[in-house]
Symmetry: C2
Subunit: 246 residues, 2 copies
Amino acid sequence: MTDAARRWPLMGMGPDRTGRPQPRVGMLAFPGLTLIDLVGPQAVLNGPMRTHLLWKTTDPVESDSGISITPTMRFDDAPDRFDILFVPGGPGQAELFGDAETLDFLARQGAGADWVTSVCTGSLILGAAGLLDGYRAATHWAARDLLPLFGAEPVAERVVIDRNRITGGGVTAGIDFALTLLVHVFGEAVARTTQLLMEYDPAPPVHAGNVGAAGPEIAMAALAVLGPVAEMSMAALQARADRFEG
Amino acid sequence: MTDAARRWPLMGMGPDRTGRPQPRVGMLAFPGLTLIDLVGPQAVLNGPMRTHLLWKTTDPVESDSGISITPTMRFDDAPDRFDILFVPGGPGQAELFGDAETLDFLARQGAGADWVTSVCTGSLILGAAGLLDGYRAATHWAARDLLPLFGAEPVAERVVIDRNRITGGGVTAGIDFALTLLVHVFGEAVARTTQLLMEYDPAPPVHAGNVGAAGPEIAMAALAVLGPVAEMSMAALQARADRFEG
């Protein structure tokens, strides 16, 4: 933990509703994840909360952009429950849809967590673990049609809260998701302080952050990039959904 | 390289002004960096560009939030020049201000790069390497007063371009910085496609991204968190600045 993180308990926030000074966040760190899906929320949450990167081993895991990160906790060493369970998205999810060990771990942890959360196509992984059946949820704009495979209702919003599920839209929505979580767990002062520390005062130089603003030509270009990723996921996703229905 | 990254050359963007299909970005990955300073821009740039994480060794490096990443290239194995040199910030910078090997590496690479860039207090590191003398530059809001130590003129903007220097403000400004770089190197279509892929359509749930919006109470809370980080950097920073002046 860094000096900055150590300072948080000194800020007089007091314990959150769980009675612990630093709620524990278990964050899935799987091979082929989209790294900023994980690092955006972790940057927001770490300090006010205590974050752990979960995988089967603690060997470095390669993300979809070539950066490798080191998980901090094995599934087998995880506590019975985390206060918050978080799942990012990324092309590596194709492997997870058929990975009973990981989906069972998520299902078990999701049953006990105060908050069950995701960003981007992490909601498909939550869905495959049976954790979004009957819930409204967000996901990456290009993946919304897939949520009903697992009984979830897709919602075209940046952050969707349904009971104790909080799901974010694509990639950069993770920062807005995590600030929203801070508001719910600690209140606005902690969220605002974190926002200022991260100077989160966005000023995009172009304006194509959603399909409507981007227009059809840019949307087609984006889908051309996403095509192979979607193809990788689709067969495994359908197989899991068939089991889910059955 | 992921499938998504491989698709970029198929999008008909053609070579950039350097004549290469994928400009090379050398990104400093030092112990104690603020990980999202690096991962934000890397998520934007990787694909259209080819990113490399540079450090003295390729052993995992621990970031300020506890996540370790693996550098992909040693200083000794770096090419003579990168098209873009990039430096993130973070509390570990305290060590860098007195680290001749790293500052000499940056000075040498900065002399040859098309673009010399930074996010957050990475501009202080560029300054310590002698690369911002006489330039206007951005940095984290809490560090602006330190830029003149190295002959730079602080500017309270999210992204500052002065000749071939592009510097971003604190932490999350890295995403806006990197989209700005894409506009300059490739034009708006690539920047807009990237923005849509990352669903960068920010919607912060609270509004305290700058000191004015945050107000004095939140600003004081943020400074209390940053205090120990600033103290760590200050002595080394002053020592380097004295050498810079001398």
